[in-house]
């Protein structure tokens, strides 16, 4: 009996050691082009809500973390291929993504997407709507049967409204809000409830890392520090 217990302990220890060895450095993958969630600051470093959040999570989970940026289009293939260990890039938890990777619990609640237009009284149903290609917003507009015009980057979608290519742009409210009031751009009252909350993406085989991050997020939720961060960066509503 004693022997058995000892061997389980050794096995547990060995598993823990293997985990510690493979995750002596956790590489955090982000996009770096989506303020206020994540962006490159003047010093050329990753900054924003998710930078602060990620550093805090790593501190609480006692992990050493390192930040890397990756194109949005290939951010999931590079995670499953093992080029970094997490995706922390404002990624909404959706069923399709959940089939391929795992998500921790959400760190921001589901938030509506908003429209930004030049005319506050615009009726979006008959209008030309701009969206970033391959986003949940683009899929939503296509589904409604409205005229969709897609651009590769979020920046260009807002430009399209400014110069009249599109009547409105549909995107995350937090992304559009800083533009409202500039050059006559206004947020419309109408908003759409699409997408879930935002979570950290990890490989499906990486259960221990997921558990560690989950616990850290829970502890930040519990002591209110997560809400404080969300308010500081104005990324979403609070818990």
């Amino acid at each position: 009996m004693k022997k058995l217990m000892l061997s389980t302990a050794i096995a547990a220890f060995a598993a823990g050691a293997a985990y510690a060895e493979s995750h002596s450095v956790v590489r955090m993958g982000t996009e770096g082009a989506y303020p206020p969630w994540n962006f490159i600051n003047d010093a050329g470093e990753v900054d924003g809500f998710e930078r602060e959040l990620g550093d805090e999570l790593c501190a609480r989970a006692e992990l050493t973390c390192e930040w890397v940026t990756n194109e949005w289009d290939s951010i999931i293939p590079n995670l499953v291929s093992g080029n970094y260990d997490t995706i922390i890039a404002g990624m909404s938890i959706t069923d399709e993504r959940d089939e391929v990777i795992d998500f921790t619990q959400a760190y921001t609640p589901p938030d509506p997407s908003s429209y930004l237009a030049m005319d506050a009284g615009l009726d979006v149903t008959g209008a030309v709507i701009a969206a970033q290609a391959a986003t949940i917003q683009a899929a939503y507009v296509a589904e409604q049967g409205w005229t969709l015009v897609e651009f590769p980057t979020p920046e260009e979608t807002v430009n399209a409204v400014r110069n009249g290519e599109a009547d409105a742009v549909l995107a995350d409210k937090a992304y559009l809000e800083p533009f409202s009031g500039q050059d006559g751009l206004v947020l419309l009252e109408r908003s759409e409830m699409i997408g879930g909350g935002v979570g950290v993406g990890v490989r499906e085989s990486d259960g221990e890392l997921k558990a560690a991050l989950d616990a850290a997020i829970q502890s930040m939720k519990d002591d209110g520090s997560l809400n404080a961060l969300i308010e500081k960066w104005e990324v979403a509503s609070t818990w």
Binding site: A18, E21, S22, H23, S24, V25, R27, G32, A33, P35, P36, F39, I40, N41, D42, A43, G44, E45, D47, G48, E66, V68, T69, N70, E71, S74, P77, N78, V80, S81, G82, N83, V100, I101, T153, E155, N159, P178, F179, R203, E204, S205
Partner: protein, 294 residues
């Protein structure tokens, strides 16, 4: 960078600009020019090596090798470089890790592909999981060089293959008459002589290579176009000390000048090289030079 940059809002125009242009982000931008130049400098000889291998294989007397050489040239040339770049780097990375995994962890029992995940043992990871960031970046850079070299190597192979065929038969036959073996003819006559015929094609290839560098961001290398877009995009005062509107046009203008200047310098260099190689050759150009000299 400068002392007075602590509060950019209060500065005059010139000072503001000097602060703006020396932020860490701009330093990354300038650094990326160097990255691109170094990448070109390494890729060109590597691609030439691949090209040489491909051309030699395509001329080989050994049929499977010949098929391999010809297939390499035909397939890679038939596909737009962008289509390759979109999946090739991940594929190469997985291939390397798979090979290392086979060697380093022979008694690993778990499957390597678990659903969507690609998992090799820790020791086989490239670079090792706990390696510092610069190692990761260097490895990414190396993968980009390799991808570029494989794609442009196929074009180079095509050029060199043509050039080898274009060396006058009489020169090769003369060498044989002197009693050189097949290998000697190849090394001493064919290879030195073919460069003249290959040069127009290779110079063209170099120009195309230069102009393919904006696709580097697809390979995970933060190149000059990536930073120009990043820096030029309008940015809100919440996220920077230097808010500005859409300035991409100015950054791209800078890139345009860079590319045009680089092309011009390359053209001049190739002109010189052509003149040196043409010297003393039994071609129209060589004849013209001989006449001009006498």
């Amino acid at each position: 960078m400068f002392e007075f940059c602590a509060e950019p809002d209060t500065l005059g125009r010139i000072q503001w600009l000097s602060c703006y242009l020396t932020t860490g982000k701009h330093m990354n931008f300038y650094w990326s020019f160097l990255t691109v130049l170094v990448l070109l400098a390494i890729t060109a000889p590597t691609a030439l090596l691949f090209g040489f291998g491909g051309a030699t294989a395509a001329r080989s007397a050994f049929a499977p090798l010949r098929w391999f050489g010809k297939a390499y040239i035909a397939i890679v040339r038939g596909v737009p470089d962008i289509a390759f770049f979109l999946f090739f780097v991940i594929a190469l990375d997985q291939l390397f890790e798979y090979i290392r995994h086979r060697i380093k962890c022979p008694d690993w029992v778990d499957p390597i592909w678990q659903g969507n995940d690609f998992i090799v043992c820790t020791a086989a990871k490239l670079p090792l999981g706990n390696a510092p960031q610069w190692v990761h970046e260097t490895y990414g850079f190396f993968l980009a060089v390799l991808t570029f070299a494989i794609v442009f190597g196929a074009f180079a192979a095509n050029v060199l293959y043509g050039a080898m065929q274009a060396v006058p038969r009489a020169q090769l036959e003369t060498a044989e008459a002197y009693g050189m073996s097949r290998r000697q003819v190849f090394r001493r006559i064919l290879v030195p002589q073919m460069w003249l015929y290959a040069l127009p094609g290779l110079s063209n290839l170099w120009m195309i290579l230069i102009k393919a560098t904006p696709l580097l961001f697809l390979l995970g290398v933060e190149d000059i176009v990536y930073w120009a877009r990043e820096l030029g995009g309008s940015i809100n005062e919440r996220f920077t000390d230097y808010p500005h509107g859409d300035w991409r046009i100015w950054y791209f203008l800078g890139l345009l000048i860079f590319y045009l200047a680089f092309t011009r310098v390359s053209e001049i260099a190739f002109d010189r090289l052509t003149r040196r190689l043409t010297h003393g050759q039994a071609t129209i150009g060589g004849e013209a030079m001989r006449k001009a000299a006498t």
